[in-house]
């Protein structure tokens, strides 16, 4: 099958959605001839015109606010926030408006809008352009939050998000944009709320999100050469969360490592940890749940410091090795009598 980069896959999904559904339109800063902050909307203004690919002033709160109003009244806006950090400026509209309107109106209004936004570090853009705040939104009832890691998922989930009748926030990762994968032509969807076993294995489950999926897969590959069999589970959507697939995997391997780029404290990894700890699978664990995540620090600019701030492939590998080989407490946790 033909291969596309993640960025091309996003572009293609937008292109198809614009082509297939008159209600779909795009809004965002510099999404016209500039192609958006990272090039995801390249060529679309040319093809669909400035009415449907609307370059906006620098007004995040207003952009999302307008999308809320438009989506309540029959349109399907897809917003690009140039950097996910600026979701903080749009927070009122997302959290207090978009997420609540369906509920508060007792179902009279729907808010079928999509916000796509690139997150994460690795580009040296510093603390105000490198955060991973996805957990902030995953906390809010009324919002759906997606974090695709591959080109295939990016396209399929974007189509699913556009078809969804709720506000959906898609966290794309800048470092994923150039990564290639096989991507089918034409519209297809990846269901929102379905995790994906990105690699199956027996010895340990790694649940990772965003770019950490890619890093976990690399670590797994390296460990495979040493005879270690790692299962990598990608939740793909933070909410709704496919708890079943995650728990099934952990039940099978009896060990679990959770990896996110986001700062660990109060992160999505904390939520995953709770989900596992609160389930029956807990009693079958051979050792405590472990987490690996961003250091508790604003992302620095200097390259060497930046790379220290978030998990690297080697760290994931080392952590897994440590869990498997250096842990002397090899018994299952005992059920209380």
């Amino acid at each position: 099958m033909r291969r596309l980069t993640y960025l091309e896959a996003v572009n293609e999904a937008l292109d198809e959605a614009l082509g297939q559904d008159k209600r779909v339109f795009l809004m965002g800063e510099d999404i016209g001839i500039y192609g958006g902050g990272f090039g995801a909307t390249k060529g679309l203004e040319e093809k669909y015109g400035a009415e449907r690919v609307r370059s906006t002033p620098i007004s995040e709160s207003a952009i999302v606010g307008l999308a809320v109003g438009a989506s309540m009244t029959g349109m399907k806006p897809v917003v690009e926030l140039q950097f996910s950090d600026f979701i903080t400026i749009a927070m009122d509209q997302l959290v207090n408006q978009a997420a609540k309107i369906h509920y508060m109106s007792n179902g009279q209004f729907q808010v079928p809008l999509v916000v796509r936004t690139p997150g994460g570090s690795g580009t040296g853009a510093g603390a105000q352009h490198s955060q991973s705040l996805e957990n902030w939104l995953a906390h809010i009832p009324g919002l759906k939050v997606i974090q695709p890691a591959t080109a295939y998922d990016a396209k399929g989930l974007l189509h699913a998000a556009i078809s969804d009748n709720n506000p959906v926030v898609i966290y794309e990762h800048k470092l994923c944009y150039p990564l290639e994968a096989e991507v089918p032509e034409g519209r297809y969807t990846v269901p929102i709320g379905q995790a994906d076993i990105k690699r199956s294995g027996e010895d340990i489950t790694v649940v990772a999100t965003g770019i950490m999926v890619i890093r976990a897969l690399e670590a797994a590959e390296k460990l495979a050469n040493q005879g270690v069999s790692v299962e990598v589970v990608d939740p793909r959507t933070l909410f709704p969360l496919d708890k079943k697939s995650i728990l099934q995997s952990v039940k099978k391997t009896k060990r679990v490592l959770l990896v996110t780029e986001a700062v660990l404290r109060s992160s999505f990894a904390s939520e995953l940890s709770a989900v596992i700890a609160e389930s029956d699978v807990f009693y079958e664990l051979k050792q405590p749940i472990e987490r690996l995540g961003g250091k508790e620090v604003p992302i620095p600019c200097a390259k060497n410091l930046e790379s220290l701030a978030v998990p690297k492939v080697q760290e994931i590998e080392a952590k897994i090795s440590h869990m498997l080989f250096k842990n002397d407490k090899e018994q299952t946790i005992e059920k209380p009598r």
């Binding site: 016209g32 001839i33 002033p57 250091k295 620095p300 600019c301 200097a302 930046e306």
Partner: protein, 328 residues
């Protein structure tokens, strides 16, 4: 008859030499960054103010070290004009431990407490309320210091601009919102994003006295800024200034400027703020062509030496990652 600019320059040649030198330094600093970027030495992004030097230099020349500024992603001119060390800025942008912010901030987040530079902001519009807060603080402490808040015209479409203007106005704060209208916010033309002839028109909704000037004319920038600083010191303010200028380079390091024509660029760059002062100097015989050439050459060599020195500086140590997250 001689024009007023020339007369003024003849009266204060050393003052204007100082300002011109600052503009040269800023431009050569940024040209050097471009070269370093081409050599793959810069991690992260930067935004050049080439073409806008008169706005930064003319306005900040009217401030004392004690007065405050707040800037944006496009801050190199403001930072250098306010007195931030060029060496420490190079080091910052090259991610060295000797950077003005220890390498943690990078180009977009230069701040310098010693020189009362509140910081450059990576969040467009993020600096308006902060700067207004500093002005409030000066007023509440009965201090005479004033605040200049720099931003681009695009930033005035953020809610924060409007909220900060209104608050500064009702509380009569000693702040000048100094908007460099360089015609583009990234790829977005001013005319397409704002249905006004001038950003100065925005002041009237908030009862803020507003001005629109040629931001590429060092003399106009300086004269207006001087007047406003004086009035702010006497309890007046806030003010809004639109300094019309032009961004020569792309928005940031990776921008091929597809949204504007080469012809427009050529036309706009005919009003180069630096070449205008150089021409004035030649006409008033403060400097001749050769002097100018040589002075620039000296600056260029010094800056290149500085870079070589900075390149030898150490990287921040690993321990630095977690240092200074919380104040002690």
């Amino acid at each position: 008859m001689k024009n007023k600019t020339i007369e003024k320059m003849e009266q204060h040649p050393n003052h204007f030499k100082k300002l011109l030198r600052k503009m040269w330094e800023i431009r050569i600093f940024e040209e050097t960054l471009e070269q370093l970027y081409a050599k793959n030495k810069i991690h992260g992004t930067f935004h050049l103010c080439i073409g806008q030097e008169a706005a930064a230099v003319g306005s900040i020349a009217c401030l004392s070290q004690e007065d405050w500024i707040a800037s944006t992603h496009r801050n190199h001119g403001h930072s250098l004009a306010k007195g931030t060390s060029m060496r420490a800025m190079f080091a910052e942008i090259l991610g060295k431990s000797t950077g003005i912010n220890g390498g943690k901030g990078g180009s977009m987040h230069i701040s310098d407490a010693k020189n009362h530079h509140l910081g450059s902001n990576g969040v467009v519009g993020g600096n308006f309320p902060i700067a207004a807060g500093a002005a409030l603080s000066m007023k509440m402490q009965n201090k005479k210091q004033v605040v200049f808040c720099f931003a681009g015209e695009g930033a005035t479409n953020e809610g924060s601009f409007h909220e900060a203007m209104n608050l500064a106005s009702i509380w009569q704060l000693p702040i000048t919102f100094f908007i460099e209208n360089n015609q583009y916010g990234m790829s977005s033309a001013f005319k397409k994003m704002t249905r006004l002839d001038s950003i100065a028109q925005r002041g009237s909704s908030y009862g803020v006295e507003s001005f629109s000037i040629d931001g590429n004319d060092l003399m106009s920038v300086e004269q207006l800024s001087k007047r406003l600083v004086q009035r702010m010191r006497h309890g007046e303010g806030p003010f809004l200034v639109e300094a019309k200028t032009y961004r020569y380079r792309g928005h940031s390091k990776s921008d091929s400027c597809l949204y504007r024509s080469k012809e427009e660029e050529g036309r706009q760059q005919a009003y180069d703020p630096i070449r205008r002062v150089e021409a004035n100097f030649i006409e008033s015989k403060i400097m001749n062509k050769m002097d100018i050439f040589e002075e620039k050459q000296i600056i260029r060599e010094k800056i290149w030496q500085l870079v070589q020195e900075v390149e030898g500086d150490s990287l921040p140590s690993d321990q630095e990652l977690l240092a200074n997250i919380y104040a002690k």
